[in-house]
Symmetry: C2
Subunit: 328 residues, 2 copies
């Protein structure tokens, strides 16, 4: 019998989950839930029903794991604790600063109802977090570096869109090659935000807007841009749609350390991702962890989990024996 | 209280463990056991006793985890099941084909005595295995590639040394750049052994030996060299000692896959190691897993474990709360 997956929310991530399930032979998509009128939502998988989210509890017994594809700002802080009452769930909550409170709320709800809830899954938080952990555990006296991109930062794009006179905007975070090479050399450099990443913005201005002021407001925006070298291009909405609709992303987690009695040697661990589609890859990670959630629940576990709590073997459809024989 | 580590066997790996403990503030080295006369063994840590291995059971209660630093060919198949009776143990057993039987023997012994035994730890098997597992779990329709080097292969060096007329030899396994680049391009190439790695041999011949025959025997040796492009250099013992005593190693684990409903996108995961000292890095991994073993034992677990069975959080000295807050 296959692992029966439900999807709540059918945007880029929901569609990514659907594609990811297609690549996992031990899983099947059984239902998509949406806040929109279901008849207005078209999905890719034939024969799978689309329901309004109000009907979700009726399908409780048909779903092994519900994957929550809402946003971290307002959807998941409510949805994950709520649905962890009725389902095993996986989310991709990525507001780093609010993870402790999200964990606490989800843990209480999942434990009380005997479900397993995996939060903050994907690649960052997610695979990158695991590599930060393995990195500092194996090289405890080393330095840790995370670089992102090249890829769109939704948060930074949104911040530009809030500026008066801006109609639309896309911001790319770009790792700086010289910084990457310095880290890879093993010199353990201390790098400022400006030295690590460049920010490139493509902005559609409203008619008659003061471009000089907009550029100035972007470049001096605290937290988002002031500490970085920022490039601003003004383009048309048409060009934005045509040339900046891609969802490529990626990045690097590097741990660099000295080894040996007198720290005479260098060891460098590097993990990197190169992704044409950020939501499709994120979805593949979420689906692998849905398998882990399904198995942990079967073993009688409950409560909130993160990628740190899951032994690698839980992610694989293969038995421990086969994994030891084939890829250990 | 610190985690009390014992070392059995003081060669390159044993010394590496000693260096690794120095970098882990929650651990202390309490004893080194050797098959040599203890007075002939000098270690780096002040105030730590060296015992003959015959005395090891007397120290049973002073040691939380015993790290076994013997070889995979003859030492570990005997030592790990034997000492798992009395200690929590970690080994670096790396004869891939014999892992299933080693696991079975160690598991029986550890379970019967309520101990935790971690086998096949290090970087391959070890960190590379974990990355192969995460890679295929997250990108199940992708292709997996492992490249090793540049570094010395002990097995291939030994194979050359067994040839008549050879006094000494060192063999480097070298990944071929074109193959690595082809994999990184996302083209999912089918690569032969010859296309992936080059073998470069530095050979000291005995006086009067037939160099042409030796070179021919190396290059045509089945399993070891026949399927590869192999370069043979004849050098003096002096040059070998001077220029080829380094223990650098490393390698790459890459998973490459298509994503998307029509497989229209590419995703590439790459994990790589660049190590000046293979035994020092291996030791740092073993010591991190010794921490995991210590904790698993405290939680009441027993039996044989591999890196696949250990949730990442067990490797870290930090609490789950702190890890979620700081690096998730």
């Amino acid at each position: 019998m296959k692992i029966r997956i439900g999807i709540l929310g059918y945007g880029n991530l929901g569609k990514g989950i659907e594609c990811a399930i297609k690549q996992n032979d031990d899983m099947e998509l059984v239902a998509v839930f949406t806040r929109r009128p279901p008849e207005k939502v078209k999905i890719l998988t034939e024969g799978v029903a689309i329901y309004h989210v109000d009907q979700i509890l009726d399908k409780k017994d048909d779903i092994d794991v519900l994957i929550l594809c809402g946003g971290s700002a307002t959807d998941l802080p409510v949805q994950t604790p709520e649905y962890a009452k009725y389902f095993n769930v996986v989310d991709s909550f990525d507001t780093h600063a609010r993870i402790p409170e999200h964990f606490a709320a989800v843990d209480a709800s999942a434990k009380e109802n005997g479900n397993v809830a995996m939060i903050s899954c994907g690649w960052d938080p997610g695979m990158f977090s695991i590599n930060r952990l393995y990195g500092e555990a194996v090289l405890p006296k080393g330095s840790a570096y995370t670089f992102w991109g090249k890829g769109v930062s939704q948060g930074h794009s949104d911040a530009i869109r809030r500026i008066d006179g801006v109609a639309n905007a896309i911001q790319y975070t770009i790792p700086i090659d010289e910084a990457l090479e310095a880290v890879r050399s093993g010199s353990n450099p201390q790098l400022t935000a400006r030295q690590k990443h460049l920010r490139e913005c493509f902005v559609v201005a409203e008619e008659g807007a003061d471009l000089t002021r907009i550029e100035q407001e972007i470049k001096t925006m605290p937290n988002y841009f002031a500490d970085y070298d920022t490039i601003v291009h003004f383009i048309s909405e048409e060009t934005l749609k045509k040339e900046h609709a891609g969802m490529a992303h990626g990045g690097f987690v590097i741990q660099s350390s000295k080894t040996g009695w007198n720290e005479e040697n260098i060891a460098i661990i590097e993990y990197s991702l190169k992704l044409d589609s950020n939501p499709e890859f994120t979805s593949l990670v979420l689906v692998a962890y849905a398998r882990a959630v399904y198995r942990m629940k079967k073993e009688g576990m409950s409560g909130c989990k993160t990628v740190f709590d899951v032994a690698p073997a839980y992610l694989s459809p293969y038995s421990a024996e086969e994994l030891r024989k084939r890829i250990l």
